[in-house]
C-alpha cells in the first residue's frame, strides 16, 4: 500500500536542476572516496589496463523518507541481536543439529561444517570470536497501522557498505544544507527542509570492533615477540575496495593499528603457523618487506562468504589454516553458519520451544518480544505442512520469497516463480530452502538513482535499512564488547528483485526520518 509521505516526493527536477545535482554528486563522490572500481567487463577493451580508474558508487540523488519509529527500533535492538548470534554460535549442539540437517542438500554448508569439525578435532586455540554484523530490515506498511520493522536477513560475514554508507549520509547532508545559509541544491520541498539524515557512525563502530579484538588478543605469542596486525582477507579483483579502506584508514589513523590486505588466494603463500609453536600464531610475511613478519591478531573476512569463491581444495585449506590459528576470526566458521537462513526461520517459529528466551536469558522479556516482532513469517520446507502449501499454491506464492542458505543476495526466487522452481527440484532438496513472507514497503516510494556509469534513473523503489553492530565474546558466552552504530539504506528499482549495490542494480541511499 501507499504511504502519503511519498505523494509528491521527491520533487520533480528541471533539466538544469538535474544537471546540477548529478554534477555535484559525481564530483563529491570522487572528492570524498564515495567510489568503486568500474567493472572491467563494462569498459571497452583496453580502457584501463592498469586498473587505475574509479567512479562514483551508485547513489540516490535524494535521501529517502524512512519511519523514525522503525529506524529507532532497529538501533535499539541491535546489541540484543548481537548477543543472540553470539549465543547461537556458542551453542554448538543446537547449531550443529540444524546445520547437520542441511549438509546433504547444501555442499557449501557441509564444507563449512567439515572445516569446523577438523579444527575442533585438533582443538581450537582461540576462545575469542568477533562479529561485525549488519541486520537488514524493511519498513512494513499495513492499512490503518503505523509502519513496523521487519527483518530481511542478518549478516554475520563480510557485512559491507559501512564505509560508503557513512559517506552517502554526508553527501545528502551537504546537499541539504548547501550553500551555507541559503540552501538551494534541492528544489524546495517541506521534507527537504526538515533536517538532515541522522549521524552515521558505521566506520567508527566497525573499526571499533576490530580494534577491541586486536587489543583483546594480548601480547605476541611468538618468541621473540612480533609486531601485531589486523589482516583484511579480501577477494582478488574486488571492486568495492574503498568501502573496506574506510575501515582500515580509521584503524590505522585513529587506533594506530597496522592493517594489511591479503587476497584470499594468497593466504597460504603469505601466512604461516609455526609448527613448533603450540599457540599457533598466524604469521603474515609481507612480500614487499621480506625481512619483516607480523603476527595477526584478527582476521577480518571480506571474502570466502560465497561458495563460488572456493575454487579448489586450496581455498578450503586456506580457510582451515586461518580457523586453526590463534588469530581472532571475524567471523569464525560457526558464526558464519549461524547466519544461515534456516537459523532465522527456526528462531521465527511461532510454536515449539522458545529459542529466543533461551539464548537471551539475561534480556528483559519485553525486549525479546520486540525482537520477535521484527520476524516476518517464514516456513520450513523440509516436510510438507504449511510451507509447502503456501509455496506451491500460485496465489499464496505471490506473497513469498524462497531463500537458500546464502548471504549477499542474487540467489532468491520470487513470487510466481516459486512453485515451478520448487517442482524442478527433488523434494529431498527442498529443506535447503526457506519460504519467507514478503515484506510490504510503501508501494509508492520513489527516488532518482545515479548509477556508476552516470546514467540517471527515476522510478518506484524499495529500500532496505541495515544497522551495524559488533560484538566480541568468548566460547563460554562472556561478552567483552557489544556495540551498535551506523546504518545503511540500500534502495533498488522496484522491477529489480535483488540487492548488490556494487553490481549496479541498486543504490546507496540515506534516510530522512519522519
Amino acid at each position: 500500500m501507499d504511504d502519503p509521505i511519498y505523494t509528491d516526493y521527491p520533487p520533480s527536477l528541471s533539466p538544469a536542476q538535474q544537471e546540477y545535482l548529478v554534477t555535484a554528486t559525481k564530483d563529491w563522490a570522487i572528492l570524498n572516496g564515495l567510489t568503486v572500481r568500474p567493472n572491467p567487463a563494462t569498459l571497452p577493451e583496453g580502457a584501463d589496463p592498469n586498473r587505475v580508474l574509479a567512479t562514483n558508487a551508485p547513489v540516490t540523488l535524494f535521501p529517502s523518507p524512512f519511519p523514525r519509529v522503525c529506524f529507532e527500533e532497529a538501533q535499539a535492538l541491535q546489541t540484543v541481536y548481537n548477543e543472540l548470534y553470539a549465543a547461537i554460535t556458542c551453542n554448538e549442539e543446537w547449531l550443529g543439529k540444524i546445520i547437520e540437517d542441511l549438509i546433504d542438500v547444501d555442499d557449501f554448508v557441509a564444507n563449512l561444517w567439515k572445516t569446523h569439525l577438523a579444527v575442533q578435532k585438533e582443538g581450537y586455540v582461540q576462545n575469542l570470536s568477533l562479529g561485525l554484523y549488519r541486520s537488514d530490515y524493511m519498513a512494513h506498511v499495513t492499512p490503518n497501522h503505523a509502519p513496523t520493522l521487519k527483518q530481511v536477513e542478518f549478516n554475520t560475514i563480510s557485512s559491507s557498505f559501512g564505509g560508503l554508507s557513512a559517506l552517502v549520509r554526508s553527501l545528502h547532508a551537504e546537499l541539504l544544507t548547501s550553500p551555507p545559509g541559503s540552501p538551494i541544491s534541492y528544489p524546495p520541498h517541506p521534507l527537504l527542509q526538515s533536517g538532515v539524515p541522522p549521524e552515521n557512525t558505521a566506520v567508527e563502530t566497525l573499526s571499533g570492533g576490530l580494534a577491541a579484538a586486536h587489543k583483546a588478543y594480548g601480547p605476541s605469542k611468538s618468541t621473540p615477540g612480533l609486531p601485531l596486525c589486523v589482516l583484511f582477507v579480501v577477494q582478488e579483483g574486488e571492486r568495492n575496495v574503498f568501502d573496506q579502506y574506510a575501515l582500515s584508514k580509521r584503524l590505522t589513523q585513529f587506533h594506530k593499528i597496522p592493517v594489511f590486505r591479503l587476497a584470499s588466494n594468497r593466504i597460504l603463500d603469505q601466512t604461516t603457523i609455526p609448527s613448533s609453536n603450540p599457540s599457533r600464531p598466524l604469521i603474515y610475511h609481507p612480500p614487499h618487506s621480506p625481512a619483516s613478519a607480523f603476527e595477526v591478531t584478527t582476521v577480518y573476512l571480506r571474502a570466502y562468504y560465497s561458495p563460488d569463491e572456493y575454487k579448489s581444495g586450496r581455498d578450503w585449506e586456506a580457510r582451515i589454516h586461518m580457523e586453526r590459528s590463534a588469530a581472532i576470526k571475524c567471523p569464525t566458521v560457526l558464526n558464519q553458519l549461524a547466519g544461515c537462513k534456516k537459523i532465522q526461520q527456526v528462531l521465527a517459529e511461532p510454536t515449539g520451544p522458545d529459542h529466543l528466551s533461551s539464548f537471551l536469558s539475561n534480556i528483559d522479556p519485553g525486549v525479546i518480544a520486540r525482537l520477535r516482532e521484527t520476524f516476518a513469517p517464514q516456513y520450513d520446507l523440509s516436510a510438507g505442512g504449511q510451507g509447502w502449501e503456501l509455496a506451491l499454491n500460485p496465489e499464496t506464492a505471490l506473497k513469498h520469497v524462497l531463500k537458500p542458505q546464502r548471504e549477499g543476495g542474487g540467489n532468491n526466487i520470487y513470487k510466481s516463480e516459486i512453485p515451478g522452481f520448487l517442482r524442478s527440484l527433488p523434494e529431498s532438496d527442498w529443506k535447503g530452502w526457506v519460504l519467507m513472507e514478503l515484506i510490504n514497503p510503501a508501494a509508492n516510494a520513489e527516488n532518482v538513482a545515479l548509477r556508476n556509469d552516470g546514467e540517471v534513473l527515476r522510478g518506484n523503489v524499495i529500500s532496505e535499512l541495515g544497522v551495524y553492530g559488533t560484538i566480541l565474546w568468548d566460547n563460554t558466552g562472556k561478552v567483552f564488547h557489544n556495540e551498535q552504530g551506523g546504518w545503511l539504506l540500500r534502495t533498488k528499482g522496484k522491477e529489480v528483485n535483488e540487492g548488490g549495490v556494487a553490481a549496479g542494480f541498486s543504490s546507496l541511499d540515506s534516510v530522512l526520518l519522519y
Copy 2:
C-alpha cells in the same frame, strides 16, 4: 652537477615492493581525492559517455630530497613577493609603460590591456584586489657551494595544485610511517627514516585569502540585499577539478561561505550587473534555482589565463563584464599582466633603476637583497645587446630558455632550438620574448612516477618547488591580508622540458628536507 644526496636515492624496488607501493598509492589517491578526470582523448571511444571516471593524479612514489635552506628561504620571502606584485599592480604607470611596449607583438597582452583601459574609462567600482600566488623555484646547484634558490616564474593567475599537493604530502607522510610502529611501506633507506615532509597548508592559505576578500567586500550592494557568494570561474571540460574542490570545500565547510562554480562560457548567461545600480554588483543567477540570486563578492579565476581560452569576442566581453563589476577579482587584469615574464626580467635587471627598492620601500634592504638573489640572469631581447648575443650563439643558447608572456608552460623554447626559432621570427617580434639563464638542479636526481594511466616510470628528474601566498590590498597600496603557506613540488622526467601535471608529463611530489 650531481648532488651526493641522490647517490643511492631512491632505493631500488623489487617487483613485490613496486607492486605494493603502486597499489597503495593508486588506492590512497582515490580514497582521498588525489584525483583528476581522465583525458577523454586517451580513453577508447564510448568508455565514459557520462564523464564519471576519475584516476589518480600523476604522483611520484617517493618524496624528493630538497635542500632545507632553499625551502625555508622560499617561505621566508613569499609575503615580500606578495607585496611586490601588489605594489607593481598599483603602479599603473610603471606597469603600463612595460606592457605598452609588448602590445604590438602580443595580441593577448594587448587585449588584456584594452580590457583594463575600457574599465578605467568607465571607472573602477572596486578598489580591492586579491592575489592567490605561487612563486616557482628550483634549487640551483653549483660546485663548492650550498644549493641556492632560483625563481622560475611568479604566477599571478590560476595558481593551481594547492589542493592536490597538500594531499601528496599526506600520501608520502603516510607511506613513510605505515604501518604505525613498524613502517615497511618503503625499502629501508636513511633518508626515508629521517622524518616526514613538512606540513602543507596550501588549502588553508588559499581559501583563507578568498575568505578574507569575501569578508572585506562588506554587505550586499543590492536593494534589497542579496546573499553573498564566491564564484569560481572555471574552464569547461576542466580535468583538474578536484584540486579546485579542495579549496571550495574548505570555504564552505570551515568558512561557511557559499561557493558556486561557473564555466567561463556561461558567465554572460548566468551573471548580470543591474544597470540601475551604480555600485555594479555582480549577480549570479543559479540556473538550478531560478528564484534565487546571489551577489558575488569575489571572482576566483581558474580560467581565462591563456589566449586559447578566448575563442571569440564574447570571452573578452565576459572578462570586461567581470572586471567592471563590484566583485573583487582574483586577479584583476592588471594583476594578471604583472605576471608577464617581461616584468620579471625588468625587475631582475642588474643595472639601471632599483625597482625592487622602490616597490618595497618599507622592507628591510637585507631582505630585498635576498629576494634579488632568487633571480636568475635574464635578458631583454628588444634591441640587440647581450640578450641577442647569448640567444643567437649556439653555444651560449644551450644554457638558456626563451619565454613568451604566458603562464602555464608549454610555450617555452629551449637551448639549441633558440637561435633557429628566433631567426624564424621578424626581429620586431623578439621583444615579446625574454631570454633566461637555465637553472641547474642536481643532475643525478631520480624518482619513480606513477602516471594517471597507471604506467610506472623511473628515471632522472627535475623538480620545481612552488610556494603559495595570498594578499588582499586596495589601489592605494594598503594591504589588508598578506600570508604565505603551503607548497608544491612538481617533478618531471628530465627529457621533458615543460611542466603541466594534469597533462601527464610531470608528477606531483613532496619534499624530504636535508
